[in-house]
């Protein structure tokens, strides 16, 4: 009996992938923010850095949908209230423990990895020193949080999620967090044991307050609703008081509308990560192309999950095309705005990227002209020889074989400066490189006068630092963008989403069970995630080499733009033309789909959506 009640406990069944995913994603964001701050050279309290893994699952446990202690059905069974309350306590301990272990385990792994790096960040190393304390004190204060949560009106089968409850829960998390911050630096097991003992006593005292039978509600009554006239009810609303139709559709088809508040920052984050700005903040501006799988995952999730609850809207005189637009257009606009913001920042934020051109003297281990690999060019043959102004031929070496692209593709630097090059040749190549990297070229003469010098042994060396301060010296200079990247990203994400959506819509026929649809949804998400993770697995397995493939995508985008009639705009048109049949197919399938109402279950599979 108890086993069955445990299996179908209302809180236990809420432990869905989305809560775990949200916990992990929030932690990654927290970690990302701190890493960014550290990378920018700011100081961060390492204790605060480590605490993220406690705060996030604590907040989710406190305000998540875990307030149900027993179902109405359970109350009718000959099972004591104390037993049901203990069952709820066990469920919360299980759910909370799982989330806490996942979160703190992930955080521990990340901190230890950073601390063990060849060039560790001091804050990470210091944070690693706090990990033992974090685990001991974290678990102890977790027990206090648990005791506080289950002690709220313990005679009730479910505590109402009203404002009072919400404030209480947030205050509890903050109080427990404050306790953890204040006492958590005390070494040894005594302090956490004392805190845990308080939690255990509190739980025991609460258990003694639990009556023999839990109640559905307490005796409180709410105030009567304000009476209004029918004229007031029937008056047309002014436009500013109307909810936009797309918002009504999205909220009505969402099981947990508040999830949009959580999902929106991730959508923005994913879009930003596809620009050249956000990855550049961590020194990997060419990595954006490898987040297309996760982008497709987000778009698919947002557009596919509302289909489960579309039936109530289906009788409205609203075309299926308009409904389909409600699922795609707002999120795509939102992502597009975030993407445009990222590109704007990339273009105007002159501090976001480092100076791209470097010239090392001959005695340096990386002698010669250096530049970010995504400005390299691609060839399937021997790189073409270059004729210098003095008529000599320069043969650039094929620097990098791109593993993962067919046809023996090689990345090479067309601005190669052989050892022993004279200052004219170096300045000429620097001028050409600057023309490729910036929106305007810096003349060779300026390089000669301002940035280069000839040593006594006749070799060319930088006049100051090897990193040439071109952006600093030329405020008008902007780093060139890659206009072919965005349309190619849209193409790949668009095709991935269209493929998934078309297949998934096939499950919306009345003879297909709701369970099958939810499994299909889960499998779809898994496949998108597999696309994302698969790239890195292939990299580790040596099938592809992301380090060379990533910059190659930039060069490839430039090549495609040069081939496309009309340049980047022509490429956009081509992408739209390629995606158009898929769009028509999605529309057709969406029009034909049958959205019969389904009974909402709460099994693990059911809560996937």
């Amino acid at each position: 009996m108890i086993r069955t009640l445990w299996k179908h406990h209302p809180s236990r069944n809420m432990l869905a992938i989305k809560w775990l995913g949200m916990s992990a994603s929030t932690l990654i964001t927290w970690q990302g923010i701190f890493t960014y701050v550290l990378a920018k050279g700011h100081s961060v309290d390492p204790w605060l850095l480590a605490l993220g893994s406690w705060f996030i699952p604590a907040l989710i446990l406190a305000v998540g949908p875990f307030e149900g202690r027993a179902r109405e059905f359970s109350l009718t069974l000959p099972v004591s209230g104390r037993r049901l309350w203990l069952l709820h306590l066990g469920t919360l301990a299980y759910i909370g423990g799982f989330m806490l272990a996942l979160s703190m385990g992930l955080q521990t792994l990340v901190i230890k990895l950073f601390a063990a790096a060849s060039d560790p960040m001091p804050a990470m190393t210091e944070a690693a020193g706090y990990l033992d304390n974090l685990w001991l004190h974290g678990v102890a204060w977790w027990l206090i949080l648990l005791a506080a949560t289950v002690s709220d009106r313990p005679h009730l089968a479910a505590v109402a999620r009203d404002r009072r409850w919400l404030l209480r829960q947030i205050a509890t998390v903050l109080a427990c967090g404050a306790g953890l911050i204040l006492l958590g630096r005390i070494d040894g097991v005594l302090a956490p044991l004392a805190v845990a003992a308080v939690g255990a006593i509190w739980l025991h005292q609460t258990w003694r307050r639990v009556p023999g039978s839990l109640l559905l509600t307490d005796l409180s009554v709410s105030s009567a609703p304000r009476r209004v006239s029918s004229e007031q009810i029937l008056r047309p609303l002014p436009w500013w008081r109307r909810r936009p139709f797309w918002l009504v559709v999205l909220l009505h088809t969402s099981k947990h509308p508040s999830m949009y508040l959580v999902a929106a920052p991730f959508l923005a984050l994913v879009a930003l990560w596809n620009t050249q700005w956000a990855p550049a903040q961590v020194g990997s501006e060419h990595l954006g192309f490898f987040y297309l799988g996760i982008t497709a995952y987000m778009v698919f999730t947002m557009a596919a999950s509302p289909l489960f609850r579309l039936a109530p809207l289906d009788a409205w005189p609203v075309s299926r095309d308009r409904l389909l637009a409600c699922f795609f257009v707002p999120q795509l606009l939102f992502m597009g705005l975030a993407y445009a913001g990222g590109e704007f920042m990339a273009y105007h934020d002159r501090d976001s990227g480092s100076e791209p051109l470097v010239f090392n003297a001959a005695d340096h281990e990386s002698a010669g002209l250096r530049m970010p690999a995504h400005y390299f060019h691609l060839t399937t043959e021997e790189p073409a020889a270059i004729t210098a102004p003095d008529g000599s031929l320069i043969q650039p070496p094929g620097d990098w074989h791109v593993k993962g692209l067919p046809g023996g593709v090689t990345l090479y630097k067309p601005y190669y400066t052989p050892t022993g090059s004279d200052i004219d040749l170096v300045a000429w190549q620097l001028e050409r490189a600057s023309a490729d990297i910036f929106d305007s070229a810096i003349p060779a003469a300026e390089f000669k006068e301002r940035y280069l010098t000839v040593r006594a042994d006749g070799t060319v060396a930088p006049r100051g630092e090897a990193v040439l301060p071109l952006l600093a010296d030329h405020p008008e200079l902007r780093v060139r963008r890659f206009p072919g990247l965005a349309p190619l990203q849209v193409l790949i994400v668009g095709l991935l989403v269209q493929l998934g959506y078309v297949i998934y819509l096939g499950f919306f026929r009345s003879h297909v069970s709701s369970r099958s649809r939810k499994i299909a949804f889960g499998v779809g998400l898994g496949l998108y995630m597999a696309v994302h993770i698969g790239q890195f697995v292939l990299d580790i397995a040596g099938v592809i080499d992301i380090d060379s493939l990533a910059p190659a995508t930039f060069a490839l985008s430039d090549l495609i733009v040069s081939w496309a009639p009309g340049g980047a705009w022509g490429l956009w048109v081509m992408v739209i033309l390629i995606l158009w049949p898929g769009h028509l197919l999605v529309r057709h399938r969406f029009r034909r789909a049958e959205f019969a109402p389904v009974r909402e279950g709460d099994s693990f599979v059911d809560v996937l959506g």
Partner: protein
């Protein structure tokens, strides 16, 4: 022109199990039709097909001369639809829900909305999620009918409501609109509702239309013939009579429903079928429903 026409409509959710099997139904303007049938008989599927929410695997559907799958918007603008599953967005207030529907339906009639809101005594502008089931259903009905649809489809619209609320709801929906010429097709498990409100009865069982008749004809044209079990050893012989709809054995008697008046049925039983000790009696709707769905099909 018929308001609704279903010709040979077939629909299955599992292979070999037709929820609707070659069903024909024609509804003329102004008719009020009660749709009866057991759970799973196919009533909801029929109404959803008429609304264009489901596609039939066979046959054709015409609503006001339109194909609901080809011209879904034109159909939905002219049809009012209320079902137990057709919930309004719970986060909207009553005012917001009505305002939304006013924008969705071009022919919205504010006068009718006022009449209905007065009749339902709507006195608070709460969120729909805070309304009682009956109040929420009233708002649904108001939203579904205030564009004065020529056709109103009601799928168990009063399910779960208490008798007083059910009567108020149905009388408002069906009598008030039916009197103004709206064609209404409503499904219900409550025979009394059908008897009180419908002018025509359609009964569906096992995916097929068993009865499609004016209510008066149903009351007068069907009867129950009871034969002591020992006088009627062969149920199949009784069932083979073309006017016999069902036969079932219950306790010590064989009960057969005939599509005949009681006197005529008794003559058939004693004469053509040679059954002794048979007696016939008229059927009320509820008894007829139970006898029909509990027996075998002729």
């Amino acid at each position: 022109m018929n308001v609704l026409e279903l010709r040979g409509v077939t629909r299955a959710y599992e292979k070999g199990v037709n929820v609707l099997d070659n069903v024909d139904l024609t509804v003329a303007q102004g008719e009020v039709i009660g749709l009866l049938g057991r759970n799973g008989a196919g009533k909801t599927t029929l109404l959803r097909i008429a609304m264009g929410l489901l596609e039939p695997q066979g046959g054709s559907v015409s609503v006001l001369g339109l194909d609901p799958r080809q011209q879904p918007l034109d159909v939905k603008r002219q049809v009012g639809y209320v079902s137990e599953d057709q919930t309004l967005p719970s986060f909207l207030s009553v005012t917001e829900a009505i305002d939304l529907h006013r924008r969705l339906y071009p022919g919205w009639d504010d006068a009718l909305a006022h009449e209905l809101s007065s009749r339902f005594q709507m006195k608070s502008d709460q969120k729909l999620k805070n309304l009682s089931k009956g109040q929420a259903r009233q708002v649904s009905l108001l939203c579904a009918v205030c564009h004065r649809p020529p056709l109103l489809l009601l799928d168990e619209p009063a399910g779960g409501l208490d008798p007083a609320m059910r009567r108020e709801f149905l009388e408002t929906a069906i009598q008030m609109l039916g009197e103004s010429g709206t064609t209404i097709l409503f499904s219900s498990h409550h025979m009394t509702d059908v008897e009180r409100l419908a002018s025509r009865l359609v009964m569906i069982h096992d995916g097929q239309k068993w009865i499609d008749s004016d209510l008066d004809d149903v009351r007068e044209g069907y009867c129950l013939v009871m034969i002591p079990a020992d006088s009627a050893p062969d149920s199949a012989a009784i069932l083979s009579h073309p006017r016999c709809l069902t036969v079932r054995r219950r306790d010590d008697a064989v009960r057969a429903v005939f599509e005949l008046e009681p006197d005529e049925a008794l003559r058939v039983a004693t004469g053509e079928l040679g059954l002794t000790d048979a007696r016939s009696m008229p059927l009320n709707l509820e008894d007829m429903f139970i006898e029909l769905v509990g027996g075998g099909r002729s």
